[in-house]
């Protein structure tokens, strides 16, 4: 047994998983309240990544930032959260709200349109070149935690910790605050919530803002830890994030976190071990297949996910 590799894959999986979890949270929150599959969610992440990149350039670039490095990172994340959140609110207002009473297929197609629009707008405005965050210039690779033969770059810790912090904040918000209560009530029964005097529209807008802000932050984290961003990266993260949400149980916040980590680890370990496991017949190219198969199996055997409750159909 190669323990070094195992631990390394664990680190990779947790990093990737915490990003997926952030994306999954947004999916889950929106789905919980509107029963709407926001297929444009991944593209909010992409836009967030570009906002972060713009802020990085504005603050003097990775080599020579004009303010302290930690401040650069915080500002990037904050800007991406605001940018992503506002984008999410705009998407809700103009693409989804007119369709509240339309057949269920309409918002999905609208979402495909938004996704297409965002991707190609970014392509139009920033060109097709991949963009790099140059994170090694920002924080040297040598900075980090050393543990035996291991070296964990501090950026991975930053990513995981900030993702966890955001999730914890969200958890507190949903369970403790008045807004959280309203959100839970709206998710449980929108009409009843409206009758109880909850302004459902406002709750929905805030949900979109929070969910999309998390996605925007996730975009910056992806850029920081994986270096490169491009205009079509949103699709992949959106797909994986959605998978995470489903596996964890859609509509459930702890489910999204657990699902994200699960998918991240599944991906890392399938890349790492698929070749040993299939005796060299299948290479790392097939690792995505493993993730998809997990999802399909989950959907068929336990469609409500790990933490979800089976849905009771009301007539």
């Amino acid at each position: 047994m190669d323990w070094d590799k195992l631990v390394q894959l664990l680190v990779n999986g947790v990093t990737l998983g915490s990003v997926y979890a952030l994306v999954a949270l947004g999916f889950s929150m929106v789905y919980g309240i509107l029963k709407l599959l926001n297929l444009a969610h991944g593209d909010v992440l992409m836009v967030g990544a570009f906002v972060g990149w713009g802020v990085l350039g504005w603050l003097g670039g990775a080599q020579d930032p004009t303010v302290a490095v930690w401040l650069v990172i915080v500002l990037m994340i904050l800007a991406a959260m605001v940018g992503g959140g506002l984008l999410g609110v705009a998407i809700e207002r103009f693409a989804y709200r007119p369709l509240r009473r339309a057949p269920r297929i309409a918002p999905l197609i609208s979402a495909l349109g938004v996704s297409f629009f965002l991707q190609n707008s970014v392509l139009l405005l920033f060109g097709a070149n991949f963009r790099s965050y140059d994170s090694f210039d920002l924080v040297d690779v040598g900075v980090g935690v050393d543990w035996g033969p291991f070296h964990i770059w501090v950026m991975r810790i930053v990513v995981v910790v900030s993702a966890l912090a955001m999730m914890a904040g969200l958890w507190l918000l949903v369970t403790r605050s008045k807004l959280g209560k309203a959100m839970r009530a709206t998710a449980f029964d929108r009409e009843a919530a409206a009758m109880m005097g909850i302004d459902v529209d406002r709750v929905i807008v805030k949900t979109f803002f929070i969910g999309s802000a998390l996605a925007g932050a996730a975009g910056v984290l992806v850029g920081l830890v994986f270096f490169q961003i491009n205009h079509f990266m949103g699709f992949n993260y959106g797909l994986k994030g959605f998978t995470a949400a489903v596996v964890g149980g859609i509509g459930s916040i702890p489910g999204a976190m657990v699902g994200g980590l699960f998918i991240g680890l599944a991906e890392a370990f399938s890349v790492g071990y698929i070749e040993d496991f299939t005796r060299g017949r299948l290479g790392s190219a097939f690792s995505d297949l493993v993730v998809f198969l997990i999802l399909v199996v989950f959907m068929l055997l336990r469609p409500q996910g790990i933490f979800g409750k089976p849905e009771v159909k009301k007539v």
Binding site: K5, V225, F226, F227, Q228, F269
Partner: protein, 381 residues
């Protein structure tokens, strides 16, 4: 239902407008007299302007337009560029190829940029006697004689593969190598050829694969054992090669990244130590080409470019020279342009002169290998 009828009427109107615009246009263009005077000549560009390889096509197009503008100014010609966006998709490339074939103003095509586009457009161009000159399609079998009017200014993978193998095995004395492909038509055959070549020389090779839209390679890097000396990455995306080398460093692996020609980009692939092979010497290092680069940087605000742009600039130069020669001898037909292309003998911006073999490969052909240390490129072989 009134709405329905109005909508139907609207649909009909737009359809009629579109169809009539489409039908009317080529008819108005077919004016051979104008072409005889060489005043209304277009060069088609066939490459991916959108989609995941958009960066490649955009860079090529930018250099092509730059070249056409420069050439027109210098020679008093009025060549234009007609766009054919392939979206990196073969069927789209085929439709666009037909468009160029049907447009009698198009006398030569620059492209297809990707080998797939050449595969589906080659016989259409051949039937129309239309020369196509690619600045980036390196798949070996494109010049096995199947497409008579296809030329390329870059050498093919049958040269790149062995050269990389020799350098890795002999000069770098690698014993353990990981070869990574990126699951596309450029990468897979090249990676397989390099794997075979290295194994034939007794090097231990393991294969890995990343998908084209992956942004994180850290788990693939975890598969790179600590005794591996070199990681060969056959990729079209320079920043992907950069990420790979960064993540190797992050995990404390000593292996050096060796990128194939797609990874060539001094502005994006900046490893601490690495190698990259490229089909043409970088004009950045050629004192004769410095003026050209300065001129390009004035022309385009986007200063980042790899090896694809300059090569396509060359392809455009070949096309324009051939058309101008055809105009000079009075026979302005596609067949004559193709004949003139075959007889190309112009000064290459990569040094030396550019000529074509009978099958359309450039002569002489050699890849150049650059060593990169701390992001600085220097040619080593």
């Amino acid at each position: 239902m009134r709405n329905g009828l109005i909508a139907a009427g609207l649909a009909g109107l737009v359809a009629a407008a579109v169809v009539s615009a489409a039908v009317a246009k080529p008819a108005a263009q077919a004016a051979p007299a104008q072409i005889a005077a060489c005043t209304n000549v277009s060069i088609g560009f066939l490459g991916p302007l959108t989609g995941p390889a958009g960066f490649l096509g955009q860079e090529q197009l930018s250099w092509l337009r730059f070249g056409v503008q420069k050439y027109n100014k210098a020679n008093g010609t009025t060549f234009k560029v007609a766009l054919g966006d392939t979206q990196l998709k073969a069927p789209v490339a085929r439709t666009q190829a037909r468009r160029f074939v049907s447009d009698s103003n198009v006398l030569a095509v620059v492209g297809g940029s990707e080998s797939q586009a050449v595969v589906v457009s080659g016989n259409l161009f051949e039937k129309a006697d239309l020369a196509s000159i690619s600045g980036s399609a390196t798949q070996t079998n494109l010049t096995n004689g199947q497409f008579r009017t296809f030329f390329r200014v870059v050498p093919n993978d049958s040269i790149q593969g062995p050269q990389v193998v020799t350098y890795v095995a002999k000069n770098l004395k690698a014993k353990n190598v990981v070869v990574i492909d990126s699951q596309d038509d450029y990468s897979l055959p090249l990676a397989s050829a390099i794997t075979r070549g290295l194994r034939a020389r007794g090097v231990t090779v393991s294969r890995e694969s990343v998908s084209a839209d992956d942004t994180d390679f850290s788990s693939v890097v975890a598969n790179v054992d600590s005794n591996v000396n070199v990681v060969v990455f056959a990729t079209q995306v320079a920043s992907a090669a950069n990420t790979l080398s960064n993540q190797l460093r992050e995990q404390g692996k000593k292996a050096i990244v060796f990128g194939t020609d797609g990874a060539y980009s001094p502005s994006q692939f900046k490893p601490r130590i690495g190698y990259v092979s490229v089909f043409a010497p970088d004009p950045h290092f050629d004192p004769n080409a410095r003026a050209l680069i300065r001129e390009y940087n004035r022309y385009s605000k986007n200063k980042e470019f790899g090896a694809f742009g300059p090569a396509t600039y060359m392809a455009g130069l070949v096309a324009m020279t051939a058309i101008k020669n055809a105009c000079a001898d009075g026979q302005v037909t596609r067949a004559e342009v193709t004949r003139q292309t075959r007889r190309t003998n112009i000064r290459s911006i990569f040094g030396g002169r550019l000529r074509f073999s009978a099958k359309g490969d450039p002569l002489p052909t050699k890849f150049v290998i650059y060593k990169i240390s701390n992001g600085k490129y220097s040619p080593v072989g």
